[in-house]
Amino acid sequence: MSTLVLLLITGVGLGALYFLVASGLSLIYGLMHVLNFAHGAFLSLGGLLGWEVGRRVGDGTWGGLLVSMLVGMLVGALFAIVTELVFIRRLYNRHIEQVLVTVGIGLAAVALFEGIWGSDPIITTKVPWLRQTTEVVGARVPNHIWLLIGVAVVVLLAIVLFLRFTRFGLVIRAGVENRTMVTALGIDVRTAFTIVFAIGGAAAGLGGVLASVYYGNVSAHQGTSLLIYAFIVTVIGGLGSLTGAAIASVLIAVLQQLANFYLGGTGDLIIVLALAAVLLVRPSGLLGRAA
């Protein structure tokens, strides 16, 4: 019983991490039809620079962590904005080329990060409280899980409120549905593209800092491995659907944890099977619109 509780709660925590990456992927795809393979690099750089600045401010302190998170978001957002303005925008409506460019940026960025920080994971220092556990129905849940869940919920709420109550949010929601018609109402939809990239990049950069808390290390590759799960989650949730991405993140991460524990480390296999099953039954994903 306590094992099940532990697996469920840590699964939700891992899902929170997936969501931070998947939210941006889903928004970017929904509005621009770009599968952004550079997204993992936003995460890695956010994690690395967040760690560099945070440990100077206060290694293993709340203040240092908070600064890391802010730096991670800022770095992720800036990296994403530059990517959109310099590369994606020039390839307007050329989706294949856009995807290829993001693959290139992803690969080049990881190589660059390796050049600077090396290819081995760097162990990070955790805030003492995050190293401890809290007992829930007999299960000893690592405290960093609460941080992950809390931050992901705040990010989800912030994005939802932004989409619902701002002019840009309105443009983005409309653009996800029918971009041509948004343009035909006299709206320069490219501003919305940049904003979506910025939001996605900020969430990914924040995800990078939280990944370093979760795994206890930062590395040039962290984003790349998380990106694969995030893509799966995005597709299962329905490309373009934020709520779908949130639900799928939690479902998949929980499933992964359970399979890893009860079915002899088959978590990754189970995820791929889940992806196949969803695509067979609902090709547009759980909450996706039919193409």
Binding site: L170, V171, R173, M181, T183, A184, L185, G186
Partner: protein, 231 residues
């Protein structure tokens, strides 16, 4: 009377297929110019090409200035409103959100829109995707009429509407055209007769007739040859 919109040698492709071959036409600076032709001759594509929604080349001049190199949103912001075939309302947004999104000026013509479409006010919080076809058409027209435009491009506004609604929409179009010149694609020739002064007839992506509306509509032979129906 002079031309507000001047189109010459317009060509456009969709999906690798040439759908607008060579269109030259003028839209007068008052009243309604109707763009006619059988199904699939390229009427909608001509309008989309004027707006740059599909790739085009040729000359398009609006009020004497070329707009054929401009992005769609820049053209629209010059005061060219578009009411597309099949409405294209944002189904997941409410009626109110559809209208807010379409508003380009600080003081939109809310009074006019409320007066023309009282129903939309009652349904402000309803998702546009759950509206009837007729109500969606009202949203689509309202999105255009909220702003002070200099030209309206309206594509088959009465398509699929009941006779009563056709009358209603015709009335709205007539009111709108008193203020703003209009290029109107319309299959219902009775509507054309009621509100259009000029006609341009397309066939196979080319203009095959141009002239006064009533003269064309009263020529049974011409109408039959170009539209395949009796006027």
């Amino acid at each position: 009377m002079s031309a507000l919109l001047h189109v010459e040698g317009l060509r456009a492709r969709v999906g690798g297929q040439q759908v607008v071959e060579d269109v030259s036409l003028d839209v007068a600076d008052t009243g309604v110019t109707a763009l006619l032709g059988r199904n699939g001759v390229g009427k909608s594509s001509t309008i989309k090409a004027i707006l740059g929604i599909i790739e085009r080349d040729g000359t398009v001049e609006f009020d004497g200035r070329p707009i054929d190199r401009l992005r769609t949103d820049r053209i629209v912001r010059q005061g060219v409103a578009y009411v597309p075939e099949d409405r294209e309302v944002f189904a997941s947004l409410t009626v109110e959100e559809n209208l807010t999104l379409a508003t380009r000026q600080a003081a939109p013509n809310r009074g006019l829109v409320d007066e023309l479409f009282p129903e939309l006010r009652e349904r402000a919080r309803q998702r546009a995707g759950t509206l009837s076809g007729g109500q969606q058409q009202m949203v689509s027209l309202a999105r255009a009429l909220l702003n002070d435009n200099r030209l309206l491009l309206v594509d088959e506004p009465t398509k699929g509407l009941s006779p009563r609604l056709v009358g209603e929409v015709t009335r709205v179009l007539r009111t709108a055209a008193e203020q703003t010149p209009m290029l109107l694609v319309e299959q219902n020739l009775q509507v054309v007769r009621e509100i259009a002064q000029d006609v341009v007839v397309l066939s196979g992506g080319r203009v095959v007739h141009r002239g006064a509306a009533l003269e064309f509509l009263d020529d049974q032979d011409l109408v039959h040859r170009h539209l395949g129906v009796a006027a």
